[in-house]
Every structure is written in structure tokens, then in C-alpha cells.
């Protein structure tokens, strides 16, 4: 049996779904967090032992979709024939929610209404007569509180939905038999439906505070959406998140964790004392060392996830989206593009999927293309490693990385705007500002632990495998003989990575070890750290304190052959080239256009290369008074990329102008 969860955006569907199934799908206090269908079995205590699948759907205001994710919902309830529908209604906005409810009631599928957020109503003194509402809708209605599954009507509500499966309810309102292609007839019908809803609401709802009164929350919103104060506050909040997670609390916990990992590594090496050297190298340095190097950064990622979850849960994201809209619009994006960017600090894949709520196709694709410029959680180890090893753990490295990422998003957007001829299109912005809510520490903790679990699993699978493969490839040559000391260049890894390394000479890091690390980074960005640890046998270089004692940067710089300038170039190259394959896959499915996908990959490759080139050449000129090696070939490469860009731009715009002329011609003929 399948029970679908449908309702307006931000009415608490996913929170209820999580409570009933025990899952931990992403929730947040803004409309459009859920962008895809999710299914899972109900917990035993709710299903009574039967096999019942709960289906969580994206929020929708009605059966006629406006944004792509709304379409998933109407399509599902219309065609998939769930056995029952739980219609989650935001009880604080009954008058709007019931419009969709009456449409759901017409489908011939039994509906149970969950009057969610009843606790907020109780606090605000809004009373809803449940029995009367139930009688008027001719369907069961229950007061629920999704965030408090123990003390709310959740159990009774779901039991009722299960018992109703297969029965037929008589719809209280049926749309007249009209021609659905006749716009005026549809409008008139919708109007009647709203009249019907308004009458019900007037009958069952009593409000103490009118929603038109300007309250405390409105004053706060006025400040947060103020173009100057609001943006400064947002900058301060994000800086706070990065500072706490990557400079203060995160590293504090990480130092302690790294100590444990090193002890473990020593213990493993001790156990292997009498084993062949190659086995000891593989296990102690390759596996434990490489994976340990990655896991050592876990606390930084965890702390950040915790803080971002708090932000998402309180309702701040919608305000950020509103305050950033005018700026983002200027470069051809939408205020809604901010949400993927903030989510992208955690992981690029959900960020790319979050783009679905952007209605305009061009804005949506542009955001998808650019959002991964903001460094994700997997890039934190890379930033942490380079900041620690080359810049004495300076906080500015991470700040600069995020700031540059954001700058690249702006410039990239501007570039896409120019290429695609944005000037012809109109883009509206409307965002619901949800009621503020105290963020749940429990949820933030859960979100953090969930992430930690995923991170450790990734480290123990993909990264472990990659490290092992890298270790083997660098230990053997093509004849499967162990590589002798001093002949490292004959290894399988070296011979594969060397051709790529040549391309990287103008960027200042044209050695096969660094090229190999960058390549494995496309499988998972943490691999950059893991591979470097393996190829240089430098597992302790993540320990900032130790480096300071042994002379720091110079030691590592000598081993890795990097100066501060080239280290920064290498870091930026890894941060701003295309994301991991998984994220590219997500980009592919969201863009649904090979042209855009290849455009995105090309843009990201070009950006990463150009940034690294500029940092290396200009930086070397500034510190050493001369240009770095490979300036001319690098310049030619960058010039070629610019030329391709201009060609693509011309082609796209010619096509676009043609279409526009055609459209204009039609319009003027129609007018005549």
C-alpha cells in the first residue's frame, strides 16, 4: 500500500515523512526543500506490521505546476494511483492551502487532512474548528505537529489514512465540465473554487492576530531584506560559519582526532614490522595514512554541517534569497540561486538538485553550471591541507577560497548572460517568507551525524580503493616489478600522469605526482589529499603544530616542490575545475541538454586553468621578479579558450537573435 504526502510548500511534509518512516531526508524552513519524490516504509509502530510505503512529494500550490518540482507532485497523484493521500495543510495559512486540498479531493483517492503546525496556531491564538472543517470537506481532519511526533495526532492521522485506503469519498467541490484549454473558463472555475474555500475558512477559523498587522517578525524581516544591512548580515553570518567550522572549533576537534589516527597508524606499522616492506607501505602509509589524512578533516565538515542545518531550519534562507535577488538579477541569475550556493558549501549534488525550484530555464541552467564553484565539504580537506602546510594554517586561505568561488559565480553568470542574450527576457521574483522558528538542535545534530556517516563510508570505500590503486600503481612499473628507489618515474602512475603534467607546467605544478592527485580528485575531491599523502608518503603533514616545529612550509615545499605561490595555484586549480563525477552526473540530469553540460564542463575547466595560470604567473612575477616557466604556452592555451568562448557566444546569439526576430514578427503581424 502506498500513501502519498502532498501539500503546499513548507507545510512540513518531509518532517512528517521523516517522523513516520525514521528517515532523515533534508528539511528546512523554506518552500522548495524537497525537489524529488522519496519513498520509504512506515515504521512498525505506525503501520501495524503491514507493508505501507510513504511517498514524500515536493510541495505544490495546486495541480497546475509552476516550477519543475511542482510538476512531479501533480503528475504523481494524477497517474500513480496511490492508495491514499495525506494532505498536509499549513494550519497557519488555511485560506491558501485548502485550494489544493479541494483539488486533491476530486481525484477519487481517499484523502486525510493533517492540519500541521497546530502548535504555532495555538501560540498565535488562531482557532480552527476541526469537526466543522471535516464536515465541510467531507474528509477526516487531524491536528498534527510534525516536529513533535510524540505528542501530536500523527498516529491517529496515519491510522485513519490506512483504514480509508480503497474507499471512496464524495468530493465537496467538483469542477464543472469545462474546456480546459479555454483560459477564461478555467479562470472562472478557479475563482469559484476559491470562493468555496473562502467561505469554509470564514466559517471554521477564528484569528486573534490578523496576518495583515505589522509585527516584530516583520520588523526583523525589514532589516534582513534591507539591501545594505541585509547583505552585511548575510556576509557576517557566512563568515561566522566558516570561521567556527574551519578556524576555531573544527580544527580544535581535528587536532585531537589526528592524534588518534597517528597512534593507530603507528600501531599498524608496529604490527607489520616483520612483514615485507611493500605490505607495510601499502597498509600503514597507503591505506591508513591516506584515508586517515582525509578523515582527519571530518570535524571541520561536521561542524559546518551543524551550523548550516541551523540556518536552514530557522527560516533565514528565504530572507537571504530575497535580499540577494537584486544583485543576482544584475548578473542574470535569480535570488533563488543563493540557496543552491549555500547548500553547495556542504555538497554540490543536493545544491545542483536544489536548482529545480528556479522557474526560468536559463537561470536554472546557469545556476546549475556555477553553483559548484563554491567549495564543497569534500574540498575542505584540500583547503585545510594547503592552508596548514604552506600558510601556517592561516584563516585567510579558506576565506579567500570561498570569496573567490563566489566571485567566479558572479563573473560566470555575467559571461553566460552575455553569451545567451539574456536582455530579451523578463524574470520575476517571488519568494514566500516563512514564519521564523527556533532551529532544532536535535535536527542539526542528526544532519551532522548523517553527514559524518556518509563521509566515513566514502573514506572507507571510494577513497580507500583509490588510495590502494594509487599506492599499487606507484609501487609497480608496467612489467609488474616493484619500482626501485630513485626510479619512481618508471611507475605505472608516473607514466600515466606525466602527459597531463606537461599541460600543467604553465600553472607551476607540472609534476606527475600533483597531476595524479588532481585527476583522482575527479572521482572524489578528498582524493586530492589522499593521493598526495600516498605519493609523497607524507601523512603527518596535516598536523599543523608538528609542521611549525620542524620548519613548516619549507620542509613540505621541498618535498612537494611547491612554493607558496604555486601551492595556491594548485589549490585553486583543484577547487575551481569541474566537480567530482557524481556532481557532473547530477548536472547532466538537471540540465537535460548536452550543449549546456559540455558548456559547463568547458567553462569550469577553463576557469580552473586560467585562475591557476594567473595566480602562478602574477604571483611568481611579484615574489621573484620574473614570469614562471611556460608563460607563453599557457597564454596560448588561455587565448584558445577565450577564442572558443567567443565562437560559441556568436553562434548562440545569432540563433537567439533569429528567434527573437521571428517572435517579434509574429507579434506585429498579430497586432495588425
Amino acid at each position: 500500500m502506498r500513501i502519498a504526502f502532498a501539500g503546499n510548500p513548507n507545510s512540513g511534509k518531509t518532517t512528517m515523512y521523516n517522523a513516520l518512516t525514521g528517515r532523515s531526508e533534508k528539511v528546512g524552513n523554506w518552500g522548495g526543500v524537497t525537489v524529488g519524490r522519496k519513498e520509504y516504509q512506515l515504521k512498525k509502530e505506525y503501520s501495524g506490521g503491514q507493508e505501507i510505503i510513504a511517498v514524500d512529494l515536493p510541495g505544490a500550490y495546486s495541480m497546475s505546476p509552476f516550477t519543475p518540482e511542482e510538476g512531479i507532485t501533480s503528475e504523481y497523484v494524477r497517474t500513480a494511483n496511490p492508495d491514499a493521500i495525506v494532505n498536509i495543510v499549513d494550519a497557519t495559512n488555511l485560506s491558501r492551502s485548502l485550494f489544493f486540498t479541494t483539488q486533491l479531493l476530486e481525484l477519487g483517492i481517499p484523502v486525510v487532512v493533517a492540519l500541521n503546525k497546530s502548535d504555532v496556531n495555538a501560540k498565535e491564538g488562531t482557532e480552527i474548528d476541526v469537526d466543522k472543517l471535516s464536515a465541510k470537506l467531507n474528509c477526516p481532519v487531524f491536528k498534527t505537529v510534525s516536529i513533535d511526533d510524540k505528542n501530536s495526532g500523527l498516529k491517529e492521522m496515519i491510522a485513519k489514512a490506512i483504514s480509508l485506503a480503497g474507499t471512496i469519498q464524495k468530493a465537496p467541490y467538483m469542477q464543472a465540465d469545462i474546456n480546459l484549454h479555454d483560459k477564461d473558463a478555467v479562470d472562472a472555475e478557479d475563482r469559484k473554487r476559491y470562493d468555496f474555500v473562502n467561505k469554509i475558512v470564514a466559517d471554521v477559523e477564528k484569528r486573534k492576530t490578523l496576518s495583515t498587522e505589522v509585527g516584530k517578525a516583520d520588523k526583523l524581516d525589514a532589516v534582513l531584506t534591507n539591501p545594505i544591512a541585509g547583505i552585511l548580515i548575510f556576509a557576517a553570518v557566512m563568515f561566522g560559519v566558516f570561521w567556527i567550522s574551519q578556524t576555531w572549533l573544527g580544527p580544535l576537534i581535528a587536532d585531537w582526532l589526528v592524534g588518534w589516527i597517528e597512534t593507530f597508524q603507528g600501531w599498524v606499522a608496529g604490527q607489520l614490522e616483520n612483514s615485507p616492506a611493500i605490505l607495510s607501505a601499502l597498509l600503514a602509509d597507503g591505506i591508513v595514512g591516506g584515508v586517515g589524512a582525509v578523515v582527519g578533516f571530518l570535524p571541520l565538515v561536521m561542524v559546518m554541517y551543524f551550523l548550516i542545518a541551523l540556518l536552514e531550519d530557522c527560516g533565514y534562507m528565504a530572507r537571504v534569497s530575497a535580499v540577494m535577488d537584486p544583485i543576482f538579477k544584475r548578473v542574470g541569475l535569480s535570488g533563488k540561486s543563493v540557496i543552491p550556493v549555500v547548500i553547495g558549501t556542504g555538497c554540490g549534488i543536493p545544491a545542483i538538485m536544489a536548482c529545480r525550484t528556479i522557474r526560468d530555464e536559463r537561470e536554472r541552467r546557469a545556476t546549475t553550471m556555477l553553483t559548484t564553484f563554491i567549495p564543497c565539504g569534500a574540498k575542505i580537506p584540500v583547503i585545510g591541507l594547503f592552508a596548514g602546510a604552506f600558510f601556517n594554517g592561516a584563516g585567510w586561505v579558506s576565506t579567500l577560497s570561498y570569496f573567490l568561488g563566489l566571485t567566479l559565480i558572479f563573473f560566470g553568470a555575467l559571461l553566460i548572460k552575455v553569451i545567451t542574450g539574456y536582455k530579451y527576457r523578463k524574470s520575476f521574483f517571488i519568494m514566500e517568507l516563512p514564519k521564523w522558528k527556533a532551529p532544532s538542535l536535535k535536527y542539526a545534530f542528526k544532519s551532522m551525524m548523517e553527514r559524518a556517516k556518509a563521509y566515513i563510508i566514502k573514506a572507507a570505500t571510494i577513497i580507500l580503493i583509490c588510495n590502494t590503486v594509487v599506492q599499487v600503481m606507484q609501487s609497480f612499473n608496467w612489467h609488474f616489478q616493484a619500482v626501485e628507489e630513485g626510479a619512481e618515474n618508471t611507475s605505472i602512475l608516473a607514466s600515466i600522469a606525466s602527459p597531463f603534467a606537461i599541460l600543467l607546467i604553465p600553472l607551476g605544478f607540472g609534476v606527475w605526482q600533483l597531476a595524479a592527485a588532481a585527476i583522482t580528485g575527479f572521482i572524489a575531491k578528498e582524493n586530492v589529499v589522499g593521493t598526495l599523502a600516498v605519493v609523497y608518503g607524507l601523512t603527518s603533514f596535516i598536523d599543523v603544530d608538528e609542521l611549525e616545529m620542524t620548519g613548516g612550509a619549507s620542509t613540505v615545499a621541498a618535498t612537494m616542490g611547491l612554493t607558496s605561490v604555486t601551492a595556491l595555484a594548485y589549490l585553486f586549480f583543484n577547487l575551481y575545475t569541474p566537480p567530482c563525477f557524481a556532481a557532473i552526473g547530477a548536472m547532466n540530469s538537471e540540465m537535460q541538454s548536452k550543449g549546456w553540460l559540455w558548456g559547463a564542463i568547458g567553462l569550469q575547466l577553463g576557469t580552473g586553468y586560467t585562475i591557476a595560470f594567473l595566480v602562478n604567473q602574477i604571483g611568481t612575477l611579484m615574489t621573484e621578479g620574473h614570469l614562471a616557466a611556460g608563460f607563453l604556452p599557457g597564454l596560448i592555451a588561455v587565448a584558445c579558450m577565450v577564442a572558443i568562448l567567443i565562437l560559441v557566444s556568436r553562434k548562440v546569439r545569432a540563433h537567439f537573435d533569429e528567434q527573437y526576430e521571428l517572435h517579434k514578427g509574429k507579434a506585429s503581424r498579430a497586432a495588425a
Binding site: R96, F99, V214, D221, A318, A322
Partner: protein
Amino acid sequence: MEEKMTLLDAEIGKTYTVKEINTDDDDMNSFLFRLGCYTGEPITLISKKKKSCIVAIKDGRYNLDNLLSEAIII
């Protein structure tokens, strides 16, 4: 012809009746409709900025940009 009054000309804290919605975009018009913003319905301006404003439609708060405010005739 008399200049039409749009949401841009509204006063903060005052409730108006929507006279017409004209975004030149059928989908946008019907989206606003579903939120409860259509001819004959009340709309209240809660706060206003240079490029956007916050309004109350039914029991919800929304942030609109000026392009959209301009299309809401009151």
C-alpha cells in the same frame, strides 16, 4: 487616460484591493492566483525597499521584486 495605481505606489501598512494582475505571463498570473492574489482580493504592503517589497496575501508573507509589484494594479 488616468495612470493606473500599482503596488509600487502603495503605502506601508495599508490594505488594498487587487484590481488587475498583468504580468504578460499567463503562468505567472495563475501562480499569483493560486497564492490568493487576484482581482477583488485584498493585499497589504508590509514593508518596502528600493527594488523589492514584502506583502501579505491571505495569511502568508511574500517578497516581490519591483517588476512583479508593477504588474499588480490596485
